[in-house]
């Protein structure tokens, strides 16, 4: 049930390889036989809730925890017996872990001072990296004199100064406010591109994972549930956990009634209708399945002018119960006759902003067969 076969466009050997890596803390299995391959230059996000084992996995890559079983290789070299201070890996800590008694400059230079590098060279490289993270004016400050965002950039600079081939980032943006977070995300992407570093990012924030990742792995209770590009995972989740964890979703129970060549027909009791889906999965008539429909894929129309301009092959009538105006979108909760509530998001185009007085208005919901994702687990 691990990892889908990951699409590998180039035949280059994976840069980081985990083979059935497990970690036990006493009786607790924090990481359960994870196998994973990460290519050079990727930004790989490990996404999961707290206690899913993602941080433990990262700490094993850095060398702070030893796997209870399995093998980790980085660039072809087995890491089992390699202590953290000899790994070609640097980490950006969630707490940033800046040395409080050292200035920004000293913090960043620390990594280089552990190698035999001349003073002038150290100074030059520190100045360069300060430039990249735009912290040059703050070189002499102590960490406690910096704001959260500035500290974050110092931590990033310190982790990058040794030009690691692999950078591990533990919740890199968690301590930043929303605005700063968005900006930093793009800065990270920019730096990653410029320096050609492989990133492994641990995060519980799906939005962060979506924007950063070239590929991501969703973790649940120590296992990797699905690996794929953000779009793959969003559009084709392998099970209900992934569908529900990434974005919001309407999950409807149903039973397969007919198998077509390229589609399925499902009888869905909660909606009181049949649903057509272009998402062909392995199943047999009579199987219990779940239909996952993303709220933004549903089109809403007033009951009266039913049908016109509605592309959906699936239709169901309902009544608007609640409208929440979110600025860029509005979220509608639509109650179907059966009492089931379906979530629909609508973009707020000019003049079409949803009004609260739409409540109780009868509406028609419709969506494509392609938007009905069938989940068997």
């Amino acid at each position: 049930m691990n990892a889908q076969p990951s699409t590998s466009p180039d035949s280059a050997p994976p840069y980081v390889r985990l083979e059935a890596v497990s970690k036990k803390f006493g009786e607790f299995l924090a990481v359960d036989a994870v196998s994973l391959e990460i290519r050079r230059g990727e930004i790989f996000c490990l996404l999961g809730g707290s206690g899913s084992g993602k941080t433990t996995l990262l700490r094993m890559l850095a060398g702070f925890e030893a796997p209870s079983a399995g093998r980790i290789t980085i660039d072809g070299a087995d890491m089992s017996a390699v202590p953290p201070y000899e790994r070609p890996v640097n980490m950006m800590f969630q707490s940033y872990a800046l040395f409080p008694h050292m200035s920004v400059e000293k913090n960043i230079a620390f990594g280089l001072e552990q190698e035999r590098i001349g003073r002038a060279e150290v100074r030059r490289r520190v100045a360069d990296i300060l430039e990249i993270v735009q912290m040059s004016p703050y070189a002499a400050r102590k960490p406690h004199q910096l704001s959260g965002g500035q500290r974050q950039r110092v931590a990033l600079a310190r982790a990058l100064i040794k030009r690691p081939k692999l950078l591990l980032l533990d919740e890199p943006l968690a301590a930043l406010d929303r605005k700063l977070r968005e900006r930093t995300q793009f800065e990270l992407l920019n730096i990653q591109e410029r320096l050609g570093v492989t990133f492994i990012v641990v995060t519980h924030d799906q939005e962060e994972a979506m924007t950063l990742a070239t590929r991501m792995g969703v973790m649940d209770r120590g296992r990797i549930v699905q690996v794929g590009t953000p779009a793959e995972i969003y559009e084709a989740p392998v099970n209900r956990f992934v569908a529900d964890f990434i974005g919001s979703v309407n999950l409807l129970e149903g039973r397969v009634v007919a198998l077509g060549a390229a589609d399925l027909t499902i009888r869905c009791e909660p909606l009181g209708c049949t649903i057509r889906s272009a998402h062909r999965v392995e199943c047999a008539p009579g199987d219990a399945v779940w239909v996952a429909i993303r709220p933004e894929k549903i089109v809403l129309a007033a009951e009266g002018g039913a049908g016109e301009g509605q592309p959906g092959e699936n239709r169901v009538a309902g009544r608007i119960r609640e409208v929440a105006y979110m600025g860029d979108v509005s979220i509608c909760l639509v109650e179907i006759e059966s009492g089931k509530v379906v979530r629909v998001t609508l973009p707020n185009r000019a003049g079409t902003a949803m009004q609260r007085d739409l409540r109780q208005a009868p509406v028609m919901l419709s969506w494509d067969a392609a938007s009905s994702v069938i989940l068997t687990r």
Partner: protein
């Protein structure tokens, strides 16, 4: 008759009186809180100090009190009579100077020994499991539950010629005749280090326990081997703890009286013993007071240092607290 809507004179006066009472009560509380310890210090520290200072500028005489008064009265006018003979004596007799230097040396070596033994202990306790930590700290503090004097006497029992250590050494056959352990520098250091070790460990532990373990991981991640990570990250951050512990050992050790008297050498006495001898044996109060004043002067610098360390520790903590709140 009072006009409605406007408080009358009496009412206003009452209000003002009530307000005054409230504020003065509040001030009274504050004054009380500061005043009690201030009074305590004045009565039990400042006044005795002034008396000692006064006596140090007198001359000894065979009377009660055994020193000359500071003022003589001439036609109801106080004429001060200051004698420097006590101090002069202290500076001319090399016995005193040697005793001072010896005391400072003993205190400095003891402090260093306490640091070398206490740092690893404090570090180990700070890194120990939560459950173990309380027990280990308890063990550090446990000796305080028995009398200090008793514990020093116990060392005599261990160190004397027919004591436990010599008996073991002889029965094992390492030595044919007892090794002189008591009344040497060795026994003196054992006594001082043993007695003052907790004062080194506790402030060091308080400092080390606050260290963020992620910092050592960060150092390792950046390529620092464990020893280097310790020297560059842990040690510099524990300097305030080292300073506090060292001063807490050094300051009382300089004037230590009981331990050198019971365990120390007889041919070289420490300054605390010197003071007591002058006072009780020679009955030379002015010289004894002079010795006391000079010990105080000797310790003023480290005491001021200690206060500065404590203040900066406190401020750093307050700053960290403010940051957490922000």
């Amino acid at each position: 008759m009072e006009q409605p809507g406007r408080p009358g004179l009496i009412e206003r006066l009452q209000n003002r009186a009530r307000r005054g009472l409230v504020t003065s009560r509040r001030h009274l509380g504050r004054r009380f809180v500061i005043g009690v310890p201030a009074l305590w210090l004045a009565v039990f520290f400042l006044v005795p100090f002034l008396i000692v200072l006064k006596i140090s500028f007198a001359e000894p005489r065979l009377a009660i009190p055994p020193y000359t008064p500071l003022f003589t009265w001439l036609h109801a006018l106080p004429i001060p009579k200051v004698h420097f003979s006590g101090y002069l004596y202290l500076f001319t007799d090399p016995l005193y100077l040697r005793s001072y230097l010896y005391s400072v040396m003993v205190a400095a070596v003891s402090t260093l020994l306490c640091l070398l033994i206490g740092y690893p202990m404090a570090y180990a306790i700070a890194r120990a499991d939560e459950a173990w930590r309380t027990l280990l700290l308890m063990l550090i503090v446990l000796p305080f539950w028995t009398s200090f004097l008793l514990r020093v006497y116990a060392w005599i029992g261990l160190l004397q010629n027919d004591g436990l250590i010599n008996n073991v050494l002889m029965s094992v056959g390492l030595t044919g005749h007892p090794v002189t352990l008591l009344q040497t520098d060795f026994s003196l250091y054992i006594g001082i280090v043993y007695s003052y070790l907790p004062y080194m460990i506790l402030p060091l532990y308080a400092n080390l326990e606050k260290h963020d373990p992620a910092l050592l991981e960060a150092a390792a991640d950046l390529g620092a081997r464990p020893l280097r990570a310790f020297l560059r990250v842990t040690l510099p951050q524990s300097l305030p703890g080292i300073a506090a512990g060292s001063l807490l050992v050094f300051i009382p050790a300089v004037g230590e009286y009981v331990i050198p008297t019971l365990l120390g050498r007889t041919d070289q006495i420490m300054i605390g013993r010197m003071l007591s001898d002058e006072f009780f044996d020679n009955r030379d109060w002015p010289v004894a007071s002079g010795v006391a004043i000079l010990i105080l002067l000797l310790l003023v610098v480290p005491i001021v240092l200690l206060q500065r360390v404590e203040r900066s520790e406190f401020e750093a903590e307050a700053e960290a607290q403010a940051q957490v709140e922000a």
